[in-house]
Symmetry: C2
Subunit: 480 residues, 2 copies
């Protein structure tokens, strides 16, 4: 444990015990350094950590203050899922959401699009232009099947921050996390096989299960504590499940992070039943707390975890650069990579490697985490005031997605149709289920937040309220 | 028919009838224009066409001359294939060839790499750099699932030259032709299903068949006339084949182009047995003749042809930009595209669209076709002088690949091992077969040709000769 971490822990305890009150000014950096006999930068580090954890906030020219504890809106309850493996449907709704071009006249709150307009991302644009001008033409050449060595080196380096020891040769670069998940599923499961998933779950993973002729066993998932290990154990006992696919850190769409203890318990379950774990960590680096939570992969001792991630949420999705660390399934994964795309586009890989090597990655992440956390609270404020009181909403620990549950019977597919006429898109809940559950739920993107987006979110809320009134007027019975 | 085409036909007949003799000088452009009452540019167009067809050649400051007719080396015979569907093996050999980084100290004659160093490709580098600097950040954003509209527009426009009428919405952009073929197979065939392929065949397609749990029915293919329609018909009668996958234009690895009549007959067979055709046209635009041969897709009346292609052989493979025109399988193809990679990297698409729109594509193709055709003949000269007399070799109608058949018992996998120690790579024949046939064959890349490559090819030939002598000395019996 570093000196600054010990100091941060000490301060955290004092805040939580009420020694420092809400809105109270904390000691100055200089005073604290003197009091504890540490350097100024150690105190600054400690304060940054508490800031990341939302316990304190900096006010320009005044110092650090204890943050107010937020009154939280109620979280959605755990959903009941089918207690058997099911075929995945809902493609028509996923298709509708992914066959759209970027359109500045539209407020697309439905897509998993990060903010790509941050100044900390500018060095990436410069790196891309530099790579295009390189006279050795490496960027135009076939890449090796594994991906550019300099990028895999940087990915392995970053993995240390996730508690992972990876060698560059453990990593295969992919065309986005999409290809990583697709590779993982085909590497561990045959057509007809069963894959357990958290529920609600990322629709891309669900649609892969469909495309490869597999079945999904949806496991009830708590919006605060994550996938139910009890339900998972029961499912593993009853069905010949081949793999567990989930997003345990900064979950999409719920936002929770599975605690380290639960991650370990899940890994132990996977060992006991000898199944693989497909760990989607695509939002993991956007965890608001510091240091970021460890991956399940970090305690993988027998290579059963296939870690899938990408730079689509942290840098830019248009680059389509992801990766997989497939553990003991390396050979099969490499074959699946080969038949899927041959190799990954070269220039983007080179530019991202340069961006990280030059030290731009960490400052960019720090900025985006703060922005996304701030936007979460701003959007929650709008939701609280604009949505009917019956609404339930998630309280994400990272990323840039909010999950809302409306009153039973509110049809978010119809809601989306209605909103699109007004230039607003949401992600209807049905796509996060194999069988079209969560029709009364929706996901909103808070990567960017300004007055216009606030108005759009407000409009979504009013629209839900209108639909609720219309239902009451019509005296319709509630349907699930 | 254009005026210049009529004139070219007239001249062609005269050359073929012996009116103009080999090495004889043809009339000057001015004289011909006067004699036929046409413009100078019409005559120039006609001469270009005959030049493309290798009937005449331009000599600087002297005019046009009738080309010598080449003494051709014997072509390999048609191979005998298993007369039943088989599982695909050989991944270890394919892996070996694709897990290599570009290495300037190595003469890699094994890979399907075009020459990316041509001056006519420079505008593409400039377009890439321009796209990277764009302030609207479209290149960093998620693309729509189908691919950038401006690129699909250009692809549809180019398709006219292949005899195809495609709407931009008929096209889905993919991560190289690799993804296109992978999509096509999954769109038309279930795991366990049978796909008929030309043999020898592109190893990427064969490995896809393996990865998706399908079986390959290899159809004997003549190095000059292409896939045997008789054998194909027999196979279609006997087995529940779902699709025919082949490269009918500038075949890889054999280099032949199926005649239009045979393409039509193949299409009729597919109609009669109600199977899909997966047409790989990745080398089609590099056909030495002008206009380029039409695709099978061009007479597809019921949407059963899935046309797969890319810019990997014509522009640069590192961009990973391909496309599929999946006909009646559009919806399924779109789903497979979605689960495979989500969408295609954006910037490369934008740059290629710009490159074509600005008129750089056709001049580049013209240059590359001439270069590849010239290199074919240069490399054939070296092969003739350096390889044992028992060698058979293809005479490609386009592309940049030569297929060599050595004496029975020459092991091209061992040959490749031996050559690698000397910094030379070849593609051993085994990878072009589902079951490791063609062990005595190899494929050589003639995209680039210079004194060093000539020495490398020469070295390959001498190595084969040595192996042949060693075999004779050891008195080994010949094995297939």
């Amino acid at each position: 444990m570093h000196r600054y971490e010990r100091l941060a822990d000490h301060l955290r305890e004092r805040i939580q015990a009420g020694f420092y009150q809400v809105h109270e000014r904390l000691p100055s950096v200089r005073a604290l350094a003197q009091a504890h006999g540490v350097s100024l930068s150690t105190v600054q580090h400690a304060y940054h950590q508490l800031e990341d954890a939302q316990l304190i906030e900096a006010r320009p020219k005044s110092g650090y203050f204890v943050s107010p504890r937020r009154e939280r809106l109620p979280a959605p309850p755990v959903a009941r899922t089918a207690q058997r493996p099911v075929e995945v449907s809902q493609w028509e709704h996923v298709r509708e959401g992914t066959c759209v071009l970027p359109d500045t006249s539209m407020h697309n709150l439905g897509r998993g699009m990060p903010d790509i307009d941050a100044p900390t991302l500018k060095p990436l644009l410069r790196a891309l232009a530099r790579v295009s001008r390189r006279q050795d033409l490496i960027g135009l050449n076939y890449d090796t099947l594994h991906g550019r060595p300099e990028l895999r080196e940087q990915i392995a380096r970053l993995a240390v921050g996730q508690g992972c020891r990876l060698h560059p040769d453990d990593i295969v670069v992919t065309t986005g996390c999409h290809e990583a998940i697709s590779i993982a599923m085909r590497a561990v499961c045959e057509p007809g096989g069963i894959i357990a998933v958290d529920s609600p779950s990322f629709y891309g993973a669900l649609q892969s299960i469909r495309a490869y002729g597999m079945k999904a066993m949806e496991i009830p998932t708590d919006p605060e504590t994550g996938i139910s290990l009890e339900a998972l154990e029961l499912a593993l006992e009853q069905w010949p499940i081949r793999a567990i696919q989930l997003t345990p850190t900064c979950n999409n769409p719920l936002g929770y992070t599975l605690s380290e203890a639960r991650k370990r318990a899940l890994y132990a379950l996977a060992q006991r039943f000898d199944v693989a774990i497909i760990e989607d960590d695509v939002y993991g680096d956007l965890s608001y707390g510091f240091p970021r939570p460890v991956t399940i992969k970090s305690f993988d001792e027998d290579g059963r975890v296939l870690l899938c991630s990408s730079f689509s949420k942290t840098l830019a999705p248009g680059l389509r650069i992801g990766w997989i660390a497939p553990g003991r399934y390396h050979e099969r994964a490499l074959h699946m990579k080969y038949v899927g795309t041959g190799s990954t586009a070269t220039q983007g890989q080179m530019a991202v490697a340069e961006f990280i090597r030059e030290g731009h990655h960490e400052p960019h992440l720090r900025r985006m985490r703060a922005q996304y956390q701030g936007n979460r609270d701003r959007m929650l404020d709008v939701i609280e005031s604009a949505f009917p009181a019956s609404t339930r909403v998630s309280y994400p620990a990272g990323g840039f997605m909010l999950w809302l549950e409306c009153a039973d019977g509110i049809d978010s597919v119809a809601l989306n149709q209605r909103l699109m006429a007004e230039g607003i898109r949401i992600a209807p809940g049905v796509v996060f289920s194999a069988t079209g559950k969560y029709r009364h739920c929706l996901r909103l993107n808070h990567a960017v937040f300004d007055a216009e987006i606030a108005r759009a979110v407000s409009r979504v809320g009013h629209c839900v309220a209108e639909m609720l009134t219309q239902r009451a007027d019509a005296g319709q019975p509630e349907t699930a």
